[in-house]
């Protein structure tokens, strides 16, 4: 099945990772066959977390529409599973436009169960998709987060995202409350050029 990944990527999953709390998690791309696990994951989220979901993924029809995007190559979704029982504990998705003026831009979003959020799983899932995006030739990634998602914003900044814009009162959460949206962007090629520049500058400093 097409998972929006090139063959080199498909070969490396499932992958086991050790989290900050020394527990293991299995990372692999999701397919439409994971519908039940994804539904169970979203339905198990506490109400305060569900409030901030961009769409109500506890609704099976909405979730099915989301999963239909995967075989079409418009979405790559990476999941984190508990090794025992195979329960999904977090997912991150990358939406790719493929055409139009934003065809070089990918959009990320993720959800991790609060029990697993201090473990660094979110960062691992995002990093996986940053690398997928890079391999697909995307130049820029964006993430829309809400004004009160302070920890998420900090994590994105640590991964090279910068705040590019604020859309005032642009989101209404599931309780009806309005929020500002922070558009966070990551210009990937530029970021790694900085690393290369740093190495070259140290090894071949300009002549005085």
């Amino acid at each position: 099945m097409k998972l929006g990944l090139d063959q080199g990527f498909q070969g490396q999953y499932p992958d086991r990772r050790v989290l900050n709390n020394d527990t293991e998690v299995v990372i692999r791309p999701l397919t439409p066959d994971d519908e039940e696990q994804l539904l169970a994951f979203y339905r198990d989220l506490p109400p305060e977390t569900r409030l901030r979901l961009r769409q109500d993924n506890t609704n099976r029809k909405i979730l099915q529409r989301f999963l239909e995007e995967i075989p079409l190559g418009r979405m790559v979704t990476m999941g984190g599973f508990q090794p025992e029982g195979n329960a999904l504990v977090g997912e991150c998705s990358l939406r790719i436009m493929h055409h139009g003026w934003a065809r070089h831009v990918g959009e990320l979003k993720y959800s991790v169960h609060p029990r697993w959020s201090p473990t660094g799983l979110g960062g691992i899932l995002i990093m996986e998709l940053v690398e997928v995006a890079s391999s697909q030739g995307l130049d820029k990634l964006v993430y829309q987060c809400l004004d009160d998602q302070v920890r998420l914003k900090k994590m994105l900044q640590d991964m090279g995202f910068v705040q590019e814009a604020i859309l005032r009162d642009h989101a209404t959460d599931l309780s009806g409350k309005k929020h500002d949206i922070y558009i966070m962007s990551n210009y990937m090629a530029e970021l790694w050029r900085k690393m290369e520049d740093m190495i070259m500058y140290q090894e071949f400093p300009p002549l005085p």
């Binding site: 490396q12 960062g123 990093m127 690398e131 890079s134 391999s135 900044q157 640590d158 991964m159 090279g160 995202f161 990551n186 970021l191 790694w192 900085k194 690393m195 290369e196 740093m198 190495i199 070259m200 140290q202 090894e203 071949f204």
Partner: protein, 190 residues
Amino acid sequence: MERQIGTRVRIAGFGGQGVILSGMILGRAVSIFENKHATLMQSFGPEARGGACSAQVILSDEQILYPYVKTPDVLVAMSQQALRLYLPTLRPGGKLVYEKDLVSLDDGDEIPEGVSTYGVPATKIAEKLRRRIVLNIVMVGFFSAVAPVVSMESARKAVLHSVPRGTEALNGRAFDMGYQYGDATYGGGS
């Protein structure tokens, strides 16, 4: 005659491999995160990218009065040319840390007596992370596993403080993969 202070390390390879950054990270790990002393001297050929490049690092509990390394205790070789040039200077009984796919030990170079050798496929590991540029960070992770003159925690912290903002996660992973390879293959060195 060179006074024997601390651990003397020479890191050598091609320009553009991150040789100097590796030396800087080791020095930073010891001096900032372990409150010890470190010096770094660098030299590079007149050639542009791809030319010879080396860093001399001394890591010590006491003040270092002479920063040049003539007979290193540890040689980190990231190119065949670097191995050929600096292997004869490695102290007998020292450690040779090398990049397995870029350096061959069967190429007629005589290894000084009692030298322990530690190879790592750092380029392959970096390619697995899809950023060949993190090759040097993989080497630093591997170094901290097999030549424990600097703790893994300090070296990792120094990596994260030395790389551009936004690249910390991948560089941290590169470090971890290098460390894990060293730990699993050589059981933490000696």
